[in-house]
């Protein structure tokens, strides 16, 4: 009995492992082909412009809103922690460093997963089930390079820029809450200037570039291969791939964040 349970567990684990390997392999090839499409970028310029508009411009408002309140709450929390050590002068540094190094890239990526990744995954999923992707391939147009590459390029442009916007607005938000709370807000910016390094900022940008590639390839991958999911089809298949695009993007962004941080530190 125990033997059977162990054996079926082992079988299940083995099956899951092979499935995982298959996904990883297909995802890697998918990403490589899409990245390779960048060499013919000039043909895709109108599509890239549209995708920048969609991923970047249309996300600006939500990024600004989220960044401002994130900065505010960081200021609030930081203030009550630092006042215990009479170090409220360091508030600017605390806010700026946590935003630039960590929260800026990660929260921007998470917001973009929710706003752009999910819709891109759904779009590709619908194109897949209505055979539009097949139609492209019969026209001798590589669907990966026609559909995924422009989004990837757009994401590589939008993620760092939106991260910069997030950082700046977040710092302003932190300043705003420090003005509300403390009379010593004057040294907020000067402290940031004296302790924020270019390495912190470029580290944040490295993260956002990696997140851009991860989020776009995973979201596109999930939508693109909607038809390969054996457990659901049609509209339900699209909904499943959208869900897994969001969940997997978030998980891999956070894992990658840890890995990159440990490399940069």
């Amino acid at each position: 009995m125990v033997h059977d349970v162990v054996r079926s567990l082992a079988g299940l684990t083995g099956k899951m492992f092979t499935e995982l390997l298959e996904h990883m392999g297909r995802w890697a090839v998918f990403s490589a082909v899409s990245l390779a499409g960048m060499v013919r970028m000039h043909r895709l310029l109108p599509k890239i412009a549209y995708d920048i508009y969609f991923i970047g411009f249309k996300s600006l408002n939500i990024i600004v809103l989220v960044a401002f309140f994130t900065g505010m709450v960081l200021g609030l929390q930081g203030y009550y922690t630092l006042i215990k050590f009479s170090a409220e002068g360091m508030l600017g540094v605390a806010v700026a460093l946590s935003l630039v190094r960590e929260l800026g890239p990660v929260l921007t990526a998470i917001m973009l997963i929710g706003r752009a990744g999910s819709s891109i995954s759904a779009e590709l999923g619908i194109m897949r089930i209505s055979e539009q992707i097949d139609a492209l391939s019969t026209m001798n147009i590589d669907p990966k390079q026609y559909l995924v590459t422009p989004k990837l390029i757009a994401a590589l442009i939008c993620f760092p820029l939106l991260t910069a916007v997030f950082d700046c607005v977040g710092i302003v938000g932190g300043y705003f809450s420090s003005v509300l709370l403390s009379s010593r807000s004057g040294i907020f910016f000067s402290k940031i200037q004296s302790s924020l390094l270019l390495a912190d900022i470029s580290g944040g940008f490295v993260k956002s570039v990696v997140f851009a590639v991860l989020v776009m390839t995973i979201s596109c991958y999930c939508g693109y291969y909607t038809h390969l999911n054996p457990r659901s089809s049609g509209a339900q298949g699209v909904s499943n791939s959208t869900t897994s695009a969001v969940v997997q993007s978030c998980v891999y962004v956070l894992i990658a964040d840890y890995v990159i941080t440990s490399f940069l530190m």
Partner: protein, 152 residues
Amino acid sequence: MNMKNLSLYPAVGLFVLIGLVCVAYLTVNLANTSLFDQNQYALNTKFSTANGLRVGSSVEISGVPVGKVAAIELDQQLYQAVVTLNIEKGVQVPEDSTAAIKTSGLIGDKYINIIPGGSSQALQHGESILDTQAALDIEEMISKYIFGSVNK
């Protein structure tokens, strides 16, 4: 597509502009990057310990910031910390000056304070400040004080 693009490109342009302004603000203003390195010259100092000091820490003379720490390396022969300072051009540092690692406040950041000497000869690019004082090790001082009082 053409109809759509007419309203698309300004939006894309606006977005990129906003993004670049933020990047520039972060890198140039907040991170205090000096875009033109020729406005600075380098001086070397050696400390027995550079504990707490890091790249980017400020260099001050009489409380006025005059530069930044550019690099911290280990001298393998003497086992000393070699600290390279970038000092703004126009600030003359006499050759008999003393460099000391100080702390702002009790637990604040470490910075380097240069105490100017009396020589009329100024240090040139690549030369060294010979007289240095390492950071006061507060932990050591506290433990000395405590153990000292116990011994009494």
